[in-house]
Structures are given as C-alpha cells and as structure tokens.
C-alpha cells in the first residue's frame, strides 16, 4: 500500500524558463550518448591525448628550470639532439613572447588533428541518439505536444551534441593548455600563449557548431539507425576519397569533403607554416631538420583554400538545415 496520497493533486509551482527546458533536452541527449560504452572509450582516448599534450608542455617548461633533472636525461642524448634542445631552450629564454606562443600553437595543431578524428567517431556513435530514434519511436510527437517549439528541440539536441564534442575536442585542448601552463615555470606562459588559445577557440568553436548541425541533419534523414550512421560515415570517408580524385579531375570536387574543408580553415587560423618558419629562423637546427619538408606541401599549407572551403561547408550546412526543417515535425 502506498505511503502517500495516490489521488490526483494539482500543481501550482513556478515553471522554468525555456532555456532550462532546452538544457533538459541537451542533458538527455548527452546522457543517451554516454550510455554507449564505445563513446566512453573514445572520450577516454581524447583525455589521454590531452594529458599527453599537458605533459609535453610541462616538460618544455622544465627545460627552463636550471637544475632540472630533465637535463640529466638530455645529456644522454645524441650530441645533435642535445644541441637542438639547448638552442630551443635558449630561444625560450631570450624570446618567450614568441617562442611560447609558436610552440603551443604547433602543439595545438598536432594534437587537434587526432582529437578531431575522434570527435567524428564520437558523432557517428551519437547520431542514433539525436533525432533518428525520436523519429523511429514517434517520440517527436511527444516533444511537439509539450511546451516546446521545433527550434527548442533542435537547440536542445544541438546542446547535447556540443556537450559531447566539448568532451572529445575542445575540453581536452583547453585542459591541456590550462594544466600545461599551470605547471610551467612562469605565469607568463598563460599570457604568451593567448594567441594560440584564441586560435583554438576561433577554429574549434564554430567547427563544433557546424559539425553539430550537420550531424543533426543527417540524424533526421531517416528513422533507421543503421541508415543515418552509414550516411555520416559515408559523407566523412567518401568525402575524403574525393580529394585525390579531384586532383586528377575536377578541382571543386575536393570541397565535398568536410575534413578537407575543415583542414583549410584550420590552416588559415593556425597558420602552421608561419610558425614553422619562425622556429626555423630562431632555432637553426630546427631549420636544418625541417628543410627536408617538401616545398609543395609547405606551399599548400601556406595558402589554404579558404573561400572554397567555406562555400563547401555552407552548402552542407544549408542542406542539413533544410533536412531539419522538413523532418522535425510530428508527421
């Protein structure tokens, strides 16, 4: 027998605002993604990479500490490597404003790449939890019958996906930056690396919103989970395969690859070639080591095809929004 009154009782409390209701949808979407063990594995790998990046920053910082035990290890290296490390340390000491920023920007470029791949994998795992299942189970009608609009639903689901991407991409990068600089020998490292941090926010933030809306659109294409996951993987991998084909046939085909387009934007924002050149000029041994980089590759990196990439991404985004407009409704 129930311990409380089981009759119907009226409720006259205050209602929460619309942003709290959207946050409820976001939390539920993220919870749905988190229930998949493979998603948890992917997030673990992302945070392992973050820890690695923080450790690299910590070790670079330790090189500036005079009596660091790290030098015992450096002394055991090959003479050429020792020279490289010492000239790098000299650069850090003489011109920290530039050297810290350049180093961290290059590290963000290096670690951001695998994190983006892992984010695309996490999205593939999350796609069924976004719109697909709601279409399949007709839960979309339940959402529509509540005090929500179509926009509330989309924003809520997007919030859940952004939360997931914050765990796999932006969060690990920011954590690595924060922990790496926190363990550095000087608080100035935070300030000197502000440009690198800004580049991360400028690139990863909009890229997350783009990927989130694109994934939502693909998730809404079908009520069949296998179909929407296949479309996402197809768009990702088949798009990649178009890049070499485009070199031999029609150049514009490469813009159909979302990773190629994101790469171009990343190159434009992080500008790794400029940073490599600064490093080459200041650390002669770096210049010697990197002189073997193919000139063609550097030229490609130095001149990203920003306009074409933005148009390509814009077309994909428009298609995703159109699908959402058509599909997010009760019937």
């Amino acid at each position: 027998m129930p311990l409380h009154d089981t009759r119907y009782q009226h409720w006259d409390g205050a209602h929460l605002g619309i942003w709290r209701r959207r946050a409820t949808i976001a939390r539920n979407a993220l919870k749905g993604c988190w229930q998949n063990k493979w998603t948890r594995y992917v997030v673990s790998v992302c945070w392992t990479l973050s820890l690695t990046q923080a450790m690299v920053l910590f070790l670079i910082g330790q090189l500036l500490v005079k009596d660091s035990s790290l030098y015992d290890w450096v002394d055991q290296l090959h003479p050429q490597m020792q020279a490289l490390v010492r000239s790098f340390v000299a650069w850090l000491e003489v011109n920290p404003k530039i050297s810290v920023g350049v180093t961290q920007s290059l590290l963000f470029s290096v670690f951001g790449w695998p994190l983006r791949i892992l984010t695309l994998v996490a999205i593939a795992l999350a796609i069924p939890h976004l719109v697909t299942r709601d279409l399949g189970s007709q839960a979309i009608t339940i959402y529509a019958a509540k005090a929500l609009t179509r926009m509330d639903y989309i924003l809520g689901k997007l919030g859940g996906l952004l939360g997931l991407m914050a765990l796999t991409w932006l969060g690990p990068l920011l954590a690595a930056w924060f922990v790496g600089n926190l363990l550095g020998p000087s608080w100035h490292f935070f300030w000197h690396s502000r440009a690198a941090l800004g580049a991360v926010l400028l690139y990863v933030g909009p890229a997350m919103v783009f990927l989130g809306l694109l994934a939502l659109g693909i998730s809404a294409i079908s009520a069949q989970e296998k179909a929407t996951v296949s479309i996402w993987i197809g768009l990702w991998l088949l798009g990649n395969s178009l890049v070499p084909i485009a070199r031999e046939t029609r150049a514009w085909l490469k813009y159909a690859s979302l990773t190629f387009d994101l790469d171009q934007i990343s190159l434009a924002i992080f500008d790794p070639v400029a940073h490599i050149r600064v490093a080459q000029e200041n650390v002669p041994l770096v210049g010697m080591l990197l002189q073997d980089l193919p000139a063609r590759k550097l030229a490609v990196w130095a001149h990203p095809e920003l306009a074409g990439a933005l148009i390509g991404l814009g077309i994909m985004l428009a298609a995703a929004l159109f699908i959402l407009y058509l599909r997010i409704k009760p019937e």
């Binding site: 009226h10 209602h15 409820t24 009608t141 339940i142 959402y143 509540k146 409704k329 009760p330």
Partner: protein, 313 residues
C-alpha cells in the same frame, strides 16, 4: 489567467486543413465548454487532424481557433504548457524506464527536476502503475503503455487533456479502468477531457458533450442528454420472467417491442421519460431487474448523422 473557467475552452471558426486535394478539415466551426467531450467519427473523419491543429502539431490552412482563450496560431508554446496529449501511437523514448520518462516529460513542460520527479511518481500511482515503473518501457504491455501515456499527459497538471483512442489494445477490464481514470479527471479534478474515439461505448460511458465529425465537418455538437432526448424514447427492460407478456402488452399500446437474444425486452415507448413504461410495468405487476434507458441512442445518432452527411443534396 487562462479562460478555461470562462465557459469556452475550444473555439474554432471555419477551420480548414488540406492534404493536397483532400480536405481533412472543411470549415469546422464550434464552441466547446469545459467537461468531458467525446469526439466521434469514423476512421479518417478528421478527429485526429482537428486535435493536432488545436495543439499546433500541424498547421491549419484556413480559419482560426482558440484553446483555453489563447490564439492557436500565435501562442502555441504557451497553450501547450496547459494542455496534455496522448497520441494514438506510442511515442515513447527508447531506453528510458517508465518513471524517468514521465519525469522527463514534466521537465519538458517546465517543472523543476525535484517537482517533476515527485509529480511523476504521483501520476504513476494515479494511473495504477506499481513497481513496473522502474522497468524499461520497451518491456511494457499495451495496457501499461496506455497508462504511461496518460501519466505523461497529465504530469504537468494541464487544464485540458486530449486523448486519442486511449483504450486501443486494452482488454475489457483495462478499458473499464482506463475510462474510470479518464472520467475522474473532469469529475473529481476539473480537467477538461477531449476523448477521440471510434468506440461509441467509450464515449457514451464518460462523455457529457458529443462532437461528431465526418468528412472533415462537424455534423453534430450537443450535450449527450439533449441528443438522447431528441430520439424517440426507448429502453431495454431486464426481467426474470414473463418477457413475452411485456412484448404483447407493448404491442397493444402500439409501442414497437422485441425480445432480444440476451433476454432483454427492447421497447420504443416514444416518451421523453420512462414514466409511461413504468406505469405499464406496474399495471402488469412486473418487477424489472433493470431498465436501461436509450441503450443505443448514441449509435443510432451516429449512424443517422453519417447517413445525413452522405445523402445527396
């Protein structure tokens, strides 16, 4: 403050909805006062479309409508905050357990989490769900799913609730329990109920007002009592014996009467009340076990309305 208490909860003016060339709603105009409202019609008549238009789940093409005094076209979100809806299909979120689902639905309506969780358990108690609330919804029977749908529709304490075929798939006992629950919403708690069904018995049992829709048009809208009063008086008399005597006595008074296969005597006494029939039974010294007034009135009205609608102009 909503206008639920002011006398009209639903107002539609020339409401129209087209699916291509098909007119799902064709100039629906009506005013509905609070209570239990039965929305009747054959399959494909436009009942669900009418409800969905009122809830703004689908846009209408013509006319205007207000629900609880608010404009349906412009205040959809505010309206739905005070409205509950159980669709005909399941609509559950896969992977959730029952109480989690109802809590989530309450949160979507703006209840804070702690209040939502408490209300969810109260509503699951109200609809008669026990420990099965902690099981995944995919494992529920049809009856449990129907109860869960009702719980999610009323968890935020709506002023009006739309129920689309709520007894579908239930066994007779489950149907009775569900109808009693629905009936109590208005009778005991003042929540207006709009019950859409093609099952006349369900509507006859709990509804005070009847709206009959066919071919997207409202054919009949009145109180059930008034509708029954329009019909020539009839009753079913349940007797332990002497059924044939009663049939003969009715014949002498020019009242058509017949003995039904279940042993009841059906009498068309044509009076507004049962007094002439009771006098006859008294004169014959008969003690009926039960008298069922206007037993098939709603069914006859329904058929008559449909025939009128289908008749050539």
């Amino acid at each position: 403050m909503f206008a639920a208490m002011s006398g009209v909860v639903i107002e539609a003016r020339d409401l129209g909805k087209d699916y291509g060339r098909v007119k799902a709603l064709d100039g629906v105009t009506l005013e509905v006062s609070p209570g239990t409202i039965g929305l009747l019609g054959p399959n494909g008549a436009g009942k669900t479309t009418f409800m969905k238009c009122l809830l703004q789940l689908i846009p209408f093409n013509r006319g205007s409508a207000t629900l609880l005094g608010r404009d349906v076209g412009r205040e959809g979100r505010e309206i739905r905050r005070r409205v509950g809806y159980t669709p005909e299909q399941d609509g559950h979120i896969p992977g959730m357990v029952g109480c989690e689902y109802v809590t989530y639905c309450a949160q979507l309506c703006g209840l804070p989490f702690s209040a939502a969780r408490q209300r969810a358990h109260e509503m699951l108690d109200f609809v008669g769900m026990g420990q099965e609330r902690y099981r995944k919804i995919e494992t529920y029977s049809t009856g449990m799913k129907q109860r869960l749908k009702l719980a999610q529709a009323i968890v935020h304490d709506p002023a009006i609730v739309f129920l689309d075929e709520p007894t579908n798939g239930l066994d007779p006992r489950g149907q009775v329990q569900m109808l009693e629950l629905v009936q109590s919403l208005w009778r005991d708690h003042g929540i207006t109920v709009v019950l859409s069904s093609h099952l006349l018995h369900d509507v006859d049992r709990i509804c005070e007002q009847i709206v009959i829709i066919a071919r997207g048009q409202v054919l009949v809208h009145d109180r059930l009592e008034a509708l029954k009063a329009r019909r020539p008086g009839s009753a079913e008399v349940v007797l332990a014996s002497r059924q044939a005597d009663l049939v003969q006595a009715c014949g002498r008074r020019q009242w058509p009467a017949e003995l039904l296969p279940n042993g009841h005597v059906r009498v068309e006494h044509r009076a507004a009340d049962l007094n002439p029939l009771l006098r006859l039974l008294h004169e014959m010294d008969l003690s009926p076990i039960e008298i069922i007034p206007s037993p098939n009135a709603l069914e006859e009205l329904f058929v008559q309305a449909l025939e009128t609608a289908h008749a050539p102009a």
